[in-house]
């Protein structure tokens, strides 16, 4: 009980509250401006949170991302342009509602059910994380090796249209993680005699490059015509929400549950959760013919899914140090910098920090309602902010932010290269998420493999010697080999 009280004290103090207020406004703004994503918001926050104590730093990220995923719905509704990729799944739907004169309803549903989805994901996080952590306390390097491998496999299977390209992306990430001294043997690999490279490639400048610089490049070469804001008076967005919640309670529950699960799976986050939820909503609906014509059902389900995914992604991140999405990949980097190393011991040694994280999630999803309502009110002003002024400002901020972590110009170079590489990759169908996961988890994979091998004196069978390790191992191998086998069987059955 004492730890819970300490958790409250960590959150409800002036500094953390100010950070939450600032981060909320920042998140709402970044989410609402097309071309700026929630992950980018996180990457841009890191250089600033770098100078804060752990809990305010985490608070900034939790609130900013929750707000950004909601406010991404706003330009989707008013401009037919998603504010963040997580809203892309139902942008056409909500725009169709706007054209029918139901912008109020679409925005209200986005806001209310985002908050509900977020709270659902938080509840699952609170219930499942400690249980998993207790279980994970018994894990040895064998279990961790399989867990990391399973996570990496997941990232490829769910994110890539073509698994081969996802796999290549993962290899790129793993290769980057192998640069420098950070390996079990402590041997400088691929440093080419450079002192900067012996420390490895900095995670934060790389993330800033991949999520912010690549977006700026995309903006620079964007050929689509300027967007027109739909001018429609928006009065009471909360009207009729109670009725919708009663009518569509199944959809809300299903969307939130699926969102949390997708979020918790490594590599896939809010955007994939929204796409999958929207598809399922249409499939299971009693009136699937209405989808696409401005029907609120899909917005409710996928709108709650993308916000619940945010909290879900924190489950593996906190318990195992395996990121559930790109945002938590950055979060893990932040936690390490703050000496709040993720893992089961985080739950036993410093439980007040974990309670503070829970409280932050609940708080963020509650204050989302009034702040989101206000954001919808001023949406037209936000959408009028000229992006040609905004983008250069962000670019300079990225430069200074990358520099600020280690005070070296080398990190700015890393940022630039990462940005260009991420842009080229995405243009050619190589998903970025597996690469990120590879960078974050590469060292962990290698360390656990080598440790296990030393313990087992070189016997591969030891990887299946403990029951949990064996189960995880079989699961991993199944994830590798089953999909191609099933595909082949289907093809033969079809022929």
């Amino acid at each position: 009980m004492d730890a819970i009280a300490q958790g409250f004290a960590l959150v409800f103090n002036l500094q953390t509250m100010l950070v939450i207020a600032g981060a909320s406004l920042f998140g709402l703004f970044v989410g609402a401006v097309p071309g700026l994503t929630a992950t980018m918001a996180t990457a841009l926050l890191v250089p600033v949170t770098f100078f804060m104590p752990p809990i305010p730093a985490v608070a900034a990220i939790v609130t900013a991302t929750a707000m950004a995923i909601f406010s991404g719905d706003i330009p989707g509704c008013l401009l037919r342009m998603p504010g963040t990729p997580a809203s892309a799944a139902y942008t056409d739907e909500s725009y169709a509602m706007t054209r029918k004169g139901q912008a109020e309803l679409a925005l209200g549903a986005g806001l209310v059910f985002s908050a509900i989805g977020g709270l659902f994901g938080t509840a699952v996080l609170i219930v499942s994380a400690p249980v998993l952590a207790e279980f994970a306390l018994k894990f040895s390097s064998f279990e961790y090796f399989w867990l990391v491998l399973l996570g990496l496999t997941c990232a490829i299977v769910i994110t890539a249209e073509r698994p081969l390209k996802g796999f290549v992306s993962l290899l790129i990430g793993l290769a980057i993680s192998s640069i420098g001294l950070g390996n079990p043997a402590g041997f400088p690999r691929f440093t080419f005699g450079s002192t900067e490279l012996t420390g490895g490639i900095g995670l934060i400048p790389m993330m800033i490059g991949m999520f912010a610089i690549s977006e700026i490049i995309r903006y620079a070469v964007d050929t689509s015509p300027p967007l027109k804001i739909v001018d429609q008076p928006i009065h009471n967005v909360f009207k009729g929400m109670g009725g919708l919640a009663v009518k569509y309670w199944r959809q809300i529950l299903r969307g939130s549950a699926l969102g949390t699960l997708i979020g918790a799976l490594p590599g896939a986050g809010a955007d994939i959760a929204a796409w999958m939820s929207y598809a399922i909503s249409k499939k299971m609906s009693k009136e699937p013919e209405k989808f696409g014509t401005g029907h609120v059902e899909g917005i409710i389900e996928s709108g709650s899914a993308n916000n619940s995914a945010l909290a879900g992604a924190w489950i593996p991140a906190l318990v195992f140090g395996i990121p559930g999405d790109s945002i938590t990949a950055i979060v893990i980097g932040v936690l390490y910098m703050k000496n709040m190393n993720p893992g089961p011991t985080l739950f036993t040694q410093n439980p007040q920090n974990i309670y503070a994280v829970y409280i932050l999630f609940i708080l963020a999803n509650i204050i989302m309602i009034p702040l989101g309502w206000w954001c919808i009110k001023v949406a037209k002003q936000i959408l009028r902010v000229p992006r040609n002024v905004l983008m250069p400002v962000i670019l300079l901020f990225c430069i200074v932010g990358s520099f600020a972590i280690n005070n070296t110009a080398f990190d700015i170079t890393v940022m630039l290269i990462a940005g260009v590489v991420a842009y080229v990759m995405e243009e050619n169908g190589f998903p970025v998420a597996p690469a990120i996961l590879g960078v974050v988890l590469g060292t962990m994979l290698e360390e656990n493999f080598v440790t296990s091998m030393i313990k087992a004196e070189g016997s591969f069978l030891a990887f299946f010697g403990r029951p949990v390790a064996a189960t995880l191992g079989v699961l991993t191998l199944a994830a590798w080999f089953l999909p191609p086998v099933i595909r082949r069987l289907r093809r033969t059955a079809g022929a």
Binding site: V168, A175, V389, E427
Partner: protein
């Protein structure tokens, strides 16, 4: 910017082969079978195999061009924007130390604003104000040692 899979394939296959060759020189750890060369070696092998598969699939996709630049290639303004973004960052990396943040930052900002079509008046004012705000936040509040460069005699 669309690049044919086969070109990516060649790139990755060559990378894989070079790394595979390179890791052979890594030291072995006495009494241990798995030295620092193993992990990069496996990755490199993966690159090699994936590269070959990409080459095969890229060559099979007949009708796909080897290299297709985006629509922006035909629009000089956008090409210039792209060059300015990348060039501006490079300019900052090379000269910030020598000239100082407060000289380089407004210059690159002004260039970016102009290529994105911001009017002169707005561009100049915003470039100066933004540079000062970012300088104040990072240098004064967060104590990041942004370089002074030629302004060192007046540093405070």
């Amino acid at each position: 910017m669309k690049i044919n899979d086969a070109i990516f394939g060649v790139l990755f296959a060559v990378l894989g082969a070079v790394v595979l060759y390179h890791v052979q020189a890594f030291p072995k750890i006495p009494g241990q079978q798995y030295g620092p060369g193993l992990f990069p070696g496996v990755i490199a092998f993966g690159f090699l195999v994936c590269g070959i598969v990409l080459i095969v699939s890229g060559v099979r996709q007949r009708g796909e061009p080897w290299f297709a630049l985006g629509d922006w290639m035909g629009m000089p303004r956008l090409v210039l924007a792209l060059l300015a973004v990348v060039g501006g960052v490079v300019f900052y990396i090379l000269l910030a130390e020598r000239l100082g943040f407060l000289v380089v930052a407004p210059v690159v900002l002004l260039v970016w604003f102009r290529v994105f079509g911001v009017r002169w008046m707005t561009a100049v004012v915003t470039a100066l104000v933004t540079s000062l705000v970012i300088w104040y936040v990072f240098y004064k509040l967060l104590r990041v040692p942004l370089p002074w460069g030629v302004l060192t005699p007046w540093a405070f």
